[in-house]
Amino acid sequence: MEKRGLLKEFTKGIIKENPVLCLVLGTCPTLAVTTSASNAIGMGVAATAVLVCSNAVISALRKFIPDKVRIPAYITIIAGFVTIVQMLVKAFAPAINDSLGIYLPLIVVNCIILGRAEMFAGKNPVIPSILDGLGMGVGFTAALLCMGIIRELLGSGTVFGAQILPFQILIFILPPGGFFVFGMLILLANKLNTRAGKAVKTTPCDGCPMAANCSQKSEKCGEKEAAENVD
């Protein structure tokens, strides 16, 4: 029973509550760094490392952080880990550091990480929080890798640098291609989820870290929900 519960914390992030495709969080890195599969993996691993560490620390400190200042406290903890990851990447994988560029420090404002801190780690013990972080991280990496492979294959004809297609459709590695492939992947995820008989819950506010103090919530999410549930 106990073990199954823990396993569930891990697996839910990969498919059922995939942070990118179902909760639609962390869209900026998803679109920006997926021009190649290796970039996607670099980003995924870096974000997973930050997510697991920050989840663990936040959950360990959850009884000490006053409720009123929890968001700034979370952001500080996350920023600390991002800096560590940034320094590690710079030292051991300078090529990835160059290709991810500004998006590496921008992991700080990745809503997946703050979202998990607010929704899970701030309320649950350390071990489930670590597993939750790991699962969400794997889900994030998988979605990024999927995007990265599609865009690299169509855009430059290669996968992980190995030539596969004899032609290339440049638009796929340019910004419009990112939006388009992402749209198609969400379409696919929605289709699979509805076929499996699960209600699709894609209100962005579900996972939004700022949902609690967002006065737009009722209006905006109501609209989204209505738009999504018409079927």
């Binding site: 900026c28 991002v82 500004i102 921008l106 910004p175 939006f179 969400i186 929605n190 962005p204 967002c214």
Partner: protein, 207 residues
């Protein structure tokens, strides 16, 4: 020369280096708040304001405190804390002294702390200082760049709100409804911005 380069920086930030459509920063509000024209506009004004303010504070702190003391690695932590603090400060000041403005902009402010466009603008401008060789990239350039980035964000948001308004009445295939069609139309809007590539260099030749 100064004026010319300022105009070039401003136009580039809006058209060729649009933070939303070309650099993928600030996608969350772009998809979330662009449903109605007035909310899209309100959010953009708040973002522009915070971008300029944040750059005005972080740029001198980085150049005159972090670099001389060799603490560049503190950039991420410091910048996000400065932005969070500034947003909080602006919110309190607006609430106390200009309640009418707070009514219209206040609701967007808490969302801006975690807006990657703001952090992105403050960080990218520091890279530009090193990479710009044609002219000296000064504090004024950084401020103009931040203002241009905000206006670019506004242009993208307002344009996209218009597109989404049209989508409301369109007959969309069932499985594309909601987010997928929004992303596909974002792809088309972003495609149109690709057409601006090279325009600024042609219009304002520097050096």
């Amino acid at each position: 020369m100064l004026i010319k380069s300022l105009i070039a920086v401003f136009l580039a930030a809006i058209l060729t280096e649009n933070y939303v459509l070309c650099k993928f920063l600030g996608i969350c509000p772009f998809l979330g708040v662009s449903k109605k024209l007035n909310t899209a506009f309100g959010m953009s004004v708040a973002v522009t304001f915070v971008m300029v303010l944040a750059t005005a504070v972080t740029f001198p702190i980085y150049t005159y405190i972090l670099v001389p003391s060799g603490m560049e690695y503190l950039q991420t932590v410091l910048f996000i804390l400065i932005i969070a603090g500034l947003v909080q400060l602006v919110e309190i000041i607006l609430k106390k002294y200009i309640p009418s403005l707070y009514q219209s902009l206040g609701i967007y402010l808490p969302l801006i702390t975690t807006n990657c466009a703001v952090l992105g603008v403050t960080m990218l401008v520091l890279q530009k200082v090193d990479s710009t060789t044609l002219y000296d990239y000064t504090y004024i350039h950084a401020l103009v760049n931040a203002f241009g980035a905000g206006i670019g964000f506004m242009v993208a948001m307002v344009m996209f709100a218009g597109v989404r308004g049209r989508l409301e009445s369109a007959d969309i295939p069932k499985s594309l409804k909601g987010l997928p069609i929004t992303l596909v139309s974002a792809a088309l809007v972003s495609l149109s911005f690709l057409g601006f590539a090279g325009v600024v260099d042609k219009l304002i030749p520097l050096g």
